[in-house]
Symmetry: C2
Subunit: 362 residues, 2 copies
DNA sequence: TGATCATGCAGAAACGTGACTGTCAACGCG
DNA sequence: CGCGTTGACAGTCACGTTTCTGCATGATCA
């Protein structure tokens, strides 16, 4: 009776269980569970009473027990395919941070939390956490982790369309091909005669799609491709590749860099060779960083809208988890945004003294 | 008998339980558990046999059940005190990303995973996840979440020393006072006569300690303080404050900016006012971003060593979780590193060859 | 040879919750 | 008055593990 309860409570002084609440409120465990979860048919008086007692005891239901019983943990895995031994590559810091922030907010608004899990980890870590679903950023060709998760029946939504026949539940991505073509047209319209590309050696779909779009554009226009590829996870290699690109005999008069640090690297290389931006060299890079708004000169960037992607990924995933047939398509394409600044305008509209910084919302 | 097992397996076709493994291997549940966990006393033959059967069935132990039974989830909360409604402020993107990356790696190496949880969330999200401990970045004065966690008996380690009487288990922090004094001395040695400060209006200990260190230094040296404070979570306010600081009648000839974007903002403001860096204005800011290595000119930065902090925080926390009396002190101070670049050296060691500038007599 | 002991394994009790089933009283209705 | 119905709860099982206890079996020793 009360002796049993006392001995129980004695074992865990800080935690009150549902039994203690039931005993303190003078009702059964069932009534407590129903009262707190809004289930069952109870008079409001009982419901209020139970809630009050639970609050007084500081009762918090055990997440582990609830997960075991219901099969739902409220946890979503967030994993980034990586090429080193670190959980995520830091060429994409700003993108990852923005995307993760938006995803965290969106998940939280629907009662879920995010667990950071690296793709390189062995199964023991993955199986140690009960997940309701997983977000995979930039899945690689035949990711064993993704296959394993899908095999277990867990929904997997990827940021970036999956390569090969990776069996994800859904994916969200930008239209990278259209984005690259838009940039190339933009540069050509600004007077570029020979546009170069700074790209990566990795096999992810972002790099692949962007590069092939560039090559096809060159073929269509009739320009010889001018590009340098480097391992994107190595920050020093980026600076070297930028330098190499501008040192070529067939030096381009405009460059698009696929990765975040390319802007500053290209700018530094241009200074070394005495090239003025944008007079001698037009510059665009793909970045979410706000520093490019106040470089000298400000650099035109392509934003992949990580916040919209992060939000969309979470919505689709949670819809799949909860079995809601989302009205969103399973493959969702988020538009990119070209933020045009001085570096890609041969004739800047106004050589204004101090461009008032626009709030970089979104 | 086998009928019962069949009916069980029929309910969950994708997941094999420990019972199924036991039945398939012809042993008891206990034997399976002991064999897989390395417990008990079993001959190696049985152990191998059970493991082989488990692998064949694709058995993965239920994390929820294990957590319920053992009381350990292998999950560590990671929360950032925020001033907006977003999970973390993006004035500290690079710091947060580096710190989180290191923390994730360190946790993973010891078998733990990190759960991103915002400090603003109500209890329902926190109590929905079973945590073994929590890392709090920049705890505010009387954080209710921290108090609640400590009251539940969970270890809490903070990045940044706690303000007020916040009852954290341990904390890791830089010696911000020494860092600021070091920078001010460095600037004074470079010839600065009046050093300004770009600081924040928030009440966190980083801002507070740094600002008071600056004020005390001014008092000791006999210089009138010249500083502007702005809400650090607002990116536009930073640019405005930088501009205001250089527009003052008592314009400083050197500035230290406490936050990551201050470097580019101050540089842009200096250009607007025709101030050359470092000839007319010495510049230092606190940042982890690598872009300051290739700005024009490169800007001296103070690194708070987020990777070392993230690693240390996790080590201390897991030691506390596992009851190991760590030989590390409960309050750990990580040294900062001043990365000296052109912007804070009145006489650069060698004027780089590339820019066709006239020899800087001075 | 019988007592002792280590070995190899099975049974069963938790862990804390959610959900199903059952019970008892009150009540309406024919 | 008997009977079905409904409200308001209590009892109990199951989720899938870990772990404690305990029972056999063979080996060892006095």
């Amino acid at each position: 009776m009360s002796r049993a309860e006392t001995s129980r409570r004695g074992s865990r002084p800080g935690r009150a269980g549902i039994r203690d609440v039931a005993a303190a409120a003078g009702v059964s465990i069932t009534t407590v569970s129903d009262a707190l979860n809004g289930k069952g048919r109870l008079p409001d008086a009982t419901r209020r009473h139970v809630r009050e007692v639970a609050d007084r005891l500081g009762y918090r239901p055990s997440a582990a027990a609830r997960t075991l019983r219901t099969g739902k943990s409220g946890l979503i895995g967030l994993t980034v395919t990586t090429y080193g031994d670190e959980p995520f590559t830091f060429t994409e810091f700003a993108y990852f941070a923005e995307m993760a922030r938006a995803a965290t907010s969106a998940a939280l608004a629907r009662g879920y939390a995010l667990v950071i899990l690296p793709a390189t980890s062995r199964h023991d870590v993955w199986s140690n956490v009960a997940l309701d679903g997983t977000v995979v950023i930039d899945p690689s060709d035949h990711d064993p982790v993704v296959s394993e998760l899908v095999r277990q029946g867990l929904p997997v939504v990827s940021d970036g369309r999956p390569a090969g026949s990776l069996p994800v539940t859904a994916w969200v991505d930008n239209d990278h091909e259209a984005a690259v073509l838009g940039i190339l047209d933009h540069l050509a319209a600004a007077g570029a005669r020979r546009i170069g590309l700074l790209t990566g050696t990795t096999t992810d779909t972002y790099t692949h799609l962007s590069t092939t779009a560039y090559l096809r554009w060159c073929e269509r226009i009739g320009q010889d491709p001018v590009y340098e590829a480097y391992p994107a996870h190595d920050p020093c290699a980026g600076a070297v590749a930028a330098d190499r690109l501008l040192a070529r005999p067939d030096r381009p008069d405009a460059v698009y860099g696929l990765f975040d640090p390319n802007g500053t690297d290209l700018l530094a290389a241009a200074r070394r060779y005495g090239l003025r931006v944008p007079e001698d060299l037009l510059l665009v890079c793909c970045s979410e960083s706000t520093v490019y708004a106040s470089t000298e000169p400000p650099i035109t960037t392509l934003s992949l809208k990580p916040r919209r992607i992060g939000t969309a990924v979470i919505q689709v995933l949670i819809d799949a988890i909860e079995g809601l047939d989302s009205d969103q398509p399973v493959e969702q394409v988020i538009p990119t945004e070209l933020i045009v600044r001085t570096s890609s305008q041969r004739r800047p509209p106004r050589t204004t003294v101090s461009p008032p910084r626009s709030p970089e919302g979104k």
